[in-house]
């Protein structure tokens, strides 16, 4: 008995569904639902987390992210302009910086600024400053490359039109090229903001006081207190509350850019 190609494809697909159904059924029978529920979603534990997990932890996560993003964006713009400079040493500095900070883990920068600098220079940086610098120094390297690409994507005719109206090179950059470049790089920059939101959890390393807790640290602390995974689950969900709308925004911006072309 021979099977046609189409019949065989149907059989293969049927087997795949079968395996999935069996796996789900086995898991449902074997799993200890009560324990799972207690571990991941203990209502009493969940209640105890509020409102601090919002008013302190979520707020701090957003604060740390924005500090790092703001500083990184400013530095990234400077680096991008240096990278495009007609003065070679500026280009070398920018390239070296970008390659260095893209190549090392952000964690290492946190360690350097959080522990290395206080030990070596006997100055303790303010918490917010440490976070801003650590996230910003690394973020700037990525954003510089993004912004550079954006600036280069602005057609040459724009600069020529600006210059032919008597604008200086700098004025043409500020009034004409950079505003257009930022529209182009808005989606990738928003992606960078998502990455920074997650990286802000690295601040966990620095040993925070209660009022400085952000989501990851808060979750970890509550985990110890309640011996339950619930805080971690809720902290995770709160990250998604930030990152999912941003991801949606990226898609909307990308669609808008695609339409404008």
């Amino acid at each position: 008995m021979s099977v046609s190609k189409r019949q065989r494809a149907r059989i293969v697909r049927g087997v795949q569904y079968g395996v999935l159904v069996v796996a789900v059924v086995v898991f449902a029978l074997v799993a200890d639902w009560h324990q799972l529920r207690m571990a991941f979603f203990d209502v009493e534990v969940a209640k105890a987390l509020f409102p601090e997990i919002i008013t302190t932890a979520l707020v701090n996560t957003v604060l740390y992210t924005l500090l790092g993003f703001g500083f990184g964006l400013a530095l990234g713009l400077v680096l991008a302009l240096m990278r495009l400079s007609s003065v070679p040493p500026y280009r070398w500095i920018a390239v070296t910086y970008i390659e260095f900070f893209r190549g090392i883990p952000c964690l290492l920068v946190f360690i350097a600024l959080g522990f290395g600098v206080p030990l070596a220079f006997e100055v303790a940086l303010d918490m917010n400053v440490t976070v801003m610098l650590s996230l910003g120094l690394v973020g700037a390297a990525y954003m510089a490359e993004t912004i550079r690409a954006g600036i280069q994507a602005v057609p040459k005719g724009q600069t020529e039109a600006a210059r032919s109206l008597g604008m200086s090179h700098g004025r043409a950059m500020v009034s004409i090229v950079i505003p257009q470049a930022f529209r182009i790089v808005l989606p990738p920059l928003t992606n960078e903001l998502i990455l920074l939101t997650k990286d802000s959890s690295l601040v966990y390393l620095l040993g925070l006081s209660l009022t400085q807790f952000e989501l990851a640290n808060f979750g970890r602390d509550a985990l110890n207190e309640h011996k339950s995974l619930t805080p971690i689950l809720i902290a995770g969900l709160l990250y998604l509350v930030i990152t999912l709308p941003l991801g949606q925004l990226v898609r909307r911006l990308e669609a808008r850019t695609a339409k404008a072309r």
Binding site: G157, Q158, A162, R163, L165, G166, M167, S175, I176, Q180
Partner: protein
């Protein structure tokens, strides 16, 4: 001022004076010794086959390209003088591009006011008053709030002309201003340019619109291979060309269909349009 080159006795310097102008891109010599001038209030059309260096010549006048050799003087200021402040010179020279080059992030009125405010230091109210007057002049007073993407090609080019006019230029350069336009939109732009010429604006126009050159130009310059082959009144150059190269070119432009069935066209068709 070192840049003043007005010879004693000539009270009225030429709007544009070009002497011994050469321009190379690497190995390729695009302009091979150009001498010509444009008087105040004169309209000069530059015609010639693709690649003959027309755009390069225009761009050397406002230093979008740096000449390799020779002198360019605009309204008495030698722009090829290394000490000259080129931004100051450029604001006196309006330029209109084939691809319009409007600023897409600004609406029509802001396209007209940004350089007035940032370069000439006019305040917003004055810049907008002048901007609106110039939009009116090109027949687009109702489009002040429109963004370039919302305008047709012909409308965009008229806004671009209004943008240049808002700087009160002493002369205007046009680089194939209608070549990127759909045929039915060409007329509006040419009408604006015609009115501008009648108002006495000094204009240097690279164009393939022979009817415009014939009607509006005081003088026509035919370029080929980086040199000026011949120049004169439209009647002389377009009506009774002296050189074989001019005749071949004109035959091709005035009757493209005949040229296609006839001899093989060497360096691209003259009536080409830019893809958008």
């Amino acid at each position: 001022m070192t840049a003043e080159t007005t010879a004693p006795g000539t009270a009225d310097p030429k709007a544009i004076e070009v002497a011994g102008l050469r321009k190379s891109f690497g190995e390729l010599e695009v302009l091979r010794g150009i001498d010509f001038s444009v008087a105040r209030g004169e309209v000069v059309c530059v015609i010639g086959p693709s690649g003959s260096g027309k755009s390069t010549l225009l761009r050397c006048v406002n230093l979008l390209e740096e000449p390799s050799a020779g002198r360019v003087t605009v309204a008495g200021t030698e722009v090829t003088d290394p000490d000259v402040d080129i931004d100051r010179v450029r604001r006196r020279i309006g330029m209109v591009f084939q691809a319009f080059n409007l600023f897409p992030h600004l609406n029509a009125l802001d396209n007209l006011t940004i350089a007035q405010r940032r370069v000439l230091g006019r305040d917003r109210a004055e810049a907008e008053r002048i901007g609106r007057a110039n939009l009116e002049r090109v027949g687009l007073s109702d489009k002040a709030a429109a963004y370039p993407a919302q305008l047709s090609g012909g409308q965009q080019q008229r806004v671009a002309i209004a943008r240049a006019l808002s700087m009160d230029p002493e002369l205007m350069l046009f680089d194939e201003p209608t070549s990127a336009l759909d045929p039915e939109l060409v007329g509006d732009v040419l009408a604006v340019m015609r009115a501008l010429a009648q108002d006495g604006m000094t204009m240097l126009v690279v164009t393939h619109e022979m009817s415009f050159a014939r009607e509006v130009a005081d003088r026509v310059v035919f370029m080929d291979g980086g040199v000026i082959v011949e120049e004169g009144t439209p009647e002389q150059v377009v009506g009774a060309p002296q050189h074989e190269r001019t005749r071949t070119f004109l035959a091709r432009v005035l009757d493209p269909a005949a040229a296609e069935v006839g001899e093989v066209v060497d360096s691209g068709a003259a009536g080409k349009r830019v893809d958008r």
